[in-house]
């Protein structure tokens, strides 16, 4: 008995050992990847800095990191940076939430009436192939130069593709799940809420991810065209006064904020998909 127990312990500790060394190797690999990533980034930034300071590259056009950093820090301290960031982020969030919601609602409408879906099909295809930012002038005149036009622009960029993708996923729900509801004589409304929508939730979340990227396009182009505030405005302003340090600085902020938003949506996705 004692011997068997001993044996069990050996086996357990062997499994533990293997697991520990597996974890160790995994951690080592992660550390190596992260180190190389940081080294690469530092190297590129330093190269840029050195090239800029020694005028190997056109400083007017390319600027260099410390100059950009100083400019952003100054703007941050005198309080002229954050309102721009805030307004753009607000517009982007509003745009991509509205785009996803309206797109899903449109998809629901098309699912509800297959006849309507068939009738609207060519119209949607045409709208999808059109470059939506070309609607800019119409939106500005229609909604006035300000936040509504910018959000409308974002909506225009996101809504059609969301409709198409979500409608497709509605149609591709396993017909046997639909059959389960039909067997209990469920209405179309209860079919939608109990099967179609929950089964398509992963797709809707992933369109949310795509829409984060698309919304940035809509918002920045919108701000290029009309606004007096926002990161898109800073870029255009920097371009007009030939301050490319400001342009690149704004780009850097966009990159950081857009990544944060993308990660936030990924986190939301993980949270919602835990059970699948």
């Amino acid at each position: 008995m004692a011997k068997q127990l001993d044996n069990n312990q050996t086996v357990l500790s062997l499994a533990d050992q293997v697991y520990t060394s597996y974890r160790q190797r995994k951690r080592n690999e992660q550390t190596r990847v992260l180190t190389v990533q940081l080294v690469t980034l530092t190297f590129l930034l330093s190269l840029w800095e050195v090239a800029g300071r020694n005028a190997w590259i056109d400083v007017l056009l390319f600027s260099y990191p410390s100059k950009i950093g100083t400019l952003l820090l100054d703007k941050l301290i005198d309080g002229t940076l954050l309102p721009h960031v805030g307004i753009t982020v607000a517009e982007t969030i509003a745009g991509f939430l509205l785009g996803t919601l309206c797109g899903t609602a449109m998809a629901a409408l098309l699912w509800w009436s297959p006849f309507l879906a068939k009738v609207l099909d060519p119209f949607i295809v045409v709208m999808n192939s059109m470059p939506k930012v070309a609607l800019g002038p119409l939106l500005i005149v229609g909604l006035g130069p300000g936040m509504p036009s910018i959000i409308a622009m974002t909506l225009a960029v996101t809504v059609i593709i969301t409709t198409l993708v979500v409608f497709n996923s509605f149609k591709e729900v396993d017909p046997n799940y639909v059959l389960v509801v039909r067997l209990y004589g469920g209405s179309r409304a209860s079919l939608f809420t109990s099967v179609i929508l929950p089964a398509s939730l992963p797709t809707i979340i992933s369109t949310l991810k795509v829409n984060v990227g698309l919304s940035w396009i809509g918002v920045i182009v919108g701000e290029f065209l009309v606004s007096k505030q926002g990161l898109g405005y800073l870029i255009i302003y920097g371009f007009q006064v030939f301050n490319f340090t400001l342009v690149i600085g704004s780009l850097a902020i966009i990159a950081i904020v857009a990544t944060c938003m993308y990660q936030a949506v990924s986190y939301l996705e993980k949270l919602l998909m835990r059970r699948r």
């Binding site: 799940y177 059959l179 067997l183 109990s194 929950p198 059970r275």
Partner: protein, 267 residues
């Protein structure tokens, strides 16, 4: 007493983009309450179509289908349907899956909820209430699907190859469980299967269907001794193999005729 199922001269034409095919022709079938009937036959003989007609998912082109004396025109809560796969909703817990039917029928009350929990216990799934389908094995999932089907207390159960996707051992265990459950709850059942020994072991009558078009070819009564035994034991009852061979030969003869027909029409 009213027949549990009564099909009178039922014909069904199946329409696709390519054209229409005669799936079932002149089906007359009566099943008495509490009876267990199996349908066997080659693939494409319209077994699933037959179940869909009884379930009210399809409407007969000719003839009439009655369940418990009522003409069936749409799915009715009197009829429970079990599919080859469980089709439990992956986004719902096992208990919620069990309650699906009750929710859709607006019959979810504390009583029916307790009954569903009782069924889960009866099927050995009492500890799985809050788990999700993907955390369960195939056999457990199929048992959960059975709970979902029984929770709405249908009088008639339609079983469309519910054991065919399971491994052999699980299949045998589940056959016994389903058979016992149906007996204790006094349900009528129609089982579609490819497995002749499963058909004999579980049922009171075995019906062999012919194809192109689907018709009832022959009916076999299962002897009392086999009917009384649980499915696992029924396979050991004397006469089981003779009956098996009889049905097997019927299917062979049918196949031979189909091949000859094929040659004659030059197919």
């Amino acid at each position: 007493m009213e027949a549990a199922v009564h099909m009178q001269d039922v014909t069904y034409v199946y329409v696709t983009e390519r054209g229409a095919t005669l799936a079932l022709e002149h089906i007359d079938l009566t099943v008495q309450p509490g009876q267990f009937v199996s349908l066997v036959g080659p693939s494409g003989c319209g077994k699933t179509t037959l179940l869909s007609l009884i379930a009210g998912l399809l409407q007969p082109t000719r003839g009439e289908v009655q369940v418990g004396g009522n003409k069936i025109v749409k799915p009715s809560p009197q009829v429970g349907y079990m599919l080859q796969h469980d089709y439990l909703f992956p986004w719902k817990s096992i208990l919620d899956n069990g309650l699906t039917g009750l929710r859709l029928l607006n019959r979810l009350t504390p009583d029916t909820r307790r009954y569903t929990q009782h069924l889960l216990h009866e099927m050995g799934l009492g500890h799985c209430e809050s788990l999700y389908p993907q955390q369960l094995s195939g056999g457990m999932r199929q048992r959960a699907a059975l709970v979902r089907t029984l929770a709405t207390e249908p009088d008639l159960l339609l079983l469309d190859e519910p054991f065919s996707a399971l491994d052999y051992q699980t299949k045998l265990q589940l056959e016994d469980l389903v058979s016992e459950t149906l007996k204790t709850h006094c349900k009528t059942a129609i089982l579609v299967t490819h497995d002749i020994s499963e058909a004999i072991a579980m049922s009171d009558r075995v019906i062999v269907l012919d194809r192109d078009p689907g018709t009832i070819r022959k009916e076999f009564a299962v002897p009392d001794a086999m009917r009384r035994a649980i499915p696992f034991a029924a396979r050991e009852v004397a006469g089981f193999h003779e009956l098996f061979n009889e049905i097997w030969n019927e299917l062979l003869v049918m196949n031979g005729e189909a091949e000859k027909d094929g040659e004659a029409t030059g197919q």
